[in-house]
Symmetry: C2
């Protein structure tokens, strides 16, 4: 497989079914760099934070951004649980023991239902087996093991060629409900074989998050377990200089944008990816706020589900974004068809547009014709009956 | 009919089908106080405002809060339309001519689809017929004529007895999508036969809105046409003093709360009214923000739809409300059953609670066990497949 050949060097992966989720799909996964990696991570901004989030934050600080393993479970968020902290820490301890490393170098992450106790033994008893399965080829096995209501695996990769050699970047991530940006969203792990310090990784990750995971919304619900980690193990032997780090950052951003698009496209019940582009605003922050407001409008999202060119809802959602602008200076394009000029209806071929709205990707472009030049892009999905069906009885 | 007997004195109502909406249901309505009333109104905070909103605001200012008629149409929002301002003003002019009053004393309001031109002749040609139909008995006819995707009429009334006589308050309103609070939400008209100045009416309306229409959300989408007006024609002959005005304000607030509950309960596709109560916060604003955050969570709303006691989603939504609190001090009750204590799961009878969640009204109570005493209440509804079905092809 092409994809496997292009993976970053020096990482091994494994996943098994540990009995955490009801259906017998793999639910416990491990990512292990051959040599301890430099790392950075961003976490949910929710006040309610799962035990693994609190612990990962603490460990990353005391290890000064050094990660020897990432341990992920699906099926239980280990959030709002009495035994949460203990379960997370004994799990990390078990991995550290097996790897002969420090506990604080094991990064824990969980996803699944909130408020249900997680049986730590399901994890600790399975660490030896997990260790025995580690292989470079199991990248996609891990990508599948961390999924919850996702309908498909989400992976992406890039490579950058420098004079000194080639650097590879690969990421795996999961959606697909409770997705709303604020710092990292959902679980995502990006690996590179470049040799980069934790400090530089942190800067790259924060900047890359802004236009990718932080410009992504499925349902506006911010999770208690979101985490996005970036690991660099140096296995390529290439230590990029300042200019080369910028090229690496572009590759990392591309991987993350690719993953973010996949999350939006596979949002719970989603049939269509919606890409909202705003341009002509005074600041990027304004442009992003307007795009986000449209992205979070259930009326816009249901209209897209029904291929209904109801641009009035787009204009209305822009109007309550909190950004000040003159509605008479707004133009709107749907699938590149001009539907609203200067805040008013354009003549457009309704049947032709309805057909174009049946496509799997819908582009909404909002142009403010003023003096500003800032722009932004936001990823979301349509809102269908499927979202309701999935979420009306997730827990039971 | 009891309800009709208790209506405020001195108002007449009429509605007809003017051909504005496709299906032949009444879509044009008139409310006329026998003598010009004092009035106050609150409007949408959306930057994108329909022509009737802009005009109503202007008229109310130049008439100094005097209203001789309210003209409402359903089926077309007259928003983002080329001819919008002209259509709204000639419509008011036609009513003013028929009533021999000033145009600025006619309050226009519209609801329906955005961005479709409204044919002014459909309104002006029908004013004589509308005038001929005016009657005290047509209150409910008007209440039905202003509906859009609502499944039922929404009316409420109260009366207050003073030594000097009885004062009556009655209101009619509509939902049921694009409902999100910020000042007034949706269309609502509250009439009283008390003799109260416009200035006092304004204060009462703003205060009463806070805990009623501004504590109401169906889908988080703020409309371009929201308007809530309060009229007082003095027909009861009773001019309440300061203390009596407080009693009148209680009655007005009750009518508005009753209407707000009806809007939430009849939200698009809704099967259940959800009442969220928050208590123990430091300020009312904090309490309301937390309640609103939970009310707007699609995951909470779908869980209620499925009678799934997924309190973790409630805790998570409180956690991203923007209000700072310690999650370990939160207790949650669902239908009065204790489901979360100190941020952790309680032992509760799941099957019993699931049955209770099948009721038509679901109460979510969030208690912060701190030093604060402020509380708030928010009204919303569950999120079902019906919402999607209604909105996926509203326009076409």
């Amino acid at each position: 497989m092409d994809f496997l050949r292009d993976l970053p060097l020096g990482y091994r992966y494994a996943a098994i079914y540990a009995g955490i989720r009801k259906q017998p799909d793999n639910d416990l996964a491990l990512i292990v760099p051959d040599k301890t990696a430099n790392a950075a991570a961003v976490f949910t901004q929710n006040l309610v934070q799962a035990a693994p989030i609190r612990l990962a934050r603490k460990y990353l600080k005391s290890s000064r951004g050094r990660v020897a393993a990432v341990l992920v479970n699906a099926g239980n968020a280990n959030c709002a649980t009495r035994t949460g902290d203990r379960v997370a820490s004994i799990s990390c301890k078990a991995v550290a023991k097996a790897l002969k490393t420090k506990t604080e170098q094991v990064l824990p992450a969980s996803t699944g239902v909130i408020g249900v106790e997680l049986d730590g033994k399901l994890i600790t008893n399975n660490i030896p087996k997990l260790m025995s399965l580690l292989s470079r080829e199991a990248f996609e096995v891990v990508a599948r093991a961390i999924l919850t209501t996702d309908t498909r695996m989400k992976v992406a990769s890039e490579e950058v060629r420098f004079r000194a050699g080639t650097i590879r970047v690969a990421g795996l991530t999961k959606g697909s409900g409770m997705i709303h940006p604020n710092m990292a969203t959902t679980l995502g792990f990006v690996m590179t074989d470049a040799n980069v310090s934790s400090k530089h990784l942190h800067g790259m990750l924060v900047r890359a998050s802004q236009s990718t995971y932080n410009s992504l919304s499925v349902d506006g619900d911010m999770s208690t377990n979101d985490m996005l980690a970036l690991l660099a193990n140096g296995a390529s032997g290439v230590e990029p200089n300042e200019k080369e780090r910028r090229a690496l950052e572009v590759a990392i951003t591309q991987v993350m944008e690719n993953l973010a698009r996949q999350i939006a496209a596979d949002g719970e019940g989603a049939k269509k990816l919606i890409v909202i582009e705003t341009t002509g605003f005074e600041t990027e922050d304004h442009a992003r706020k307007v795009a986000r407001s449209v992205a979070n409008s259930p009326l816009v999202k249901t209209a897209v589900a029904g291929s209904d060119p109801n641009w009035g809802r787009i204009l209305a959602a822009a109007g309550y974004s909190g950004v000040l602008f003159d509605p008479a200076k707004i133009d709107i394009y749907l699938q590149s068809i001009h539907v609203c000029h200067a805040g008013l209806a354009c003549d457009f071929a309704e049947q032709e547009l309805k057909q174009k709205l049946d496509e799997s990707e819908v582009r909404i472009r909002i142009v403010l014709n003023g003096r500003g030049k800032a722009q932004a892009r936001f990823f979301t999905c349509d809102l269908t009956e499927g979202y309701i069906q999935i979420n009306a009885s997730y827990r039971t």
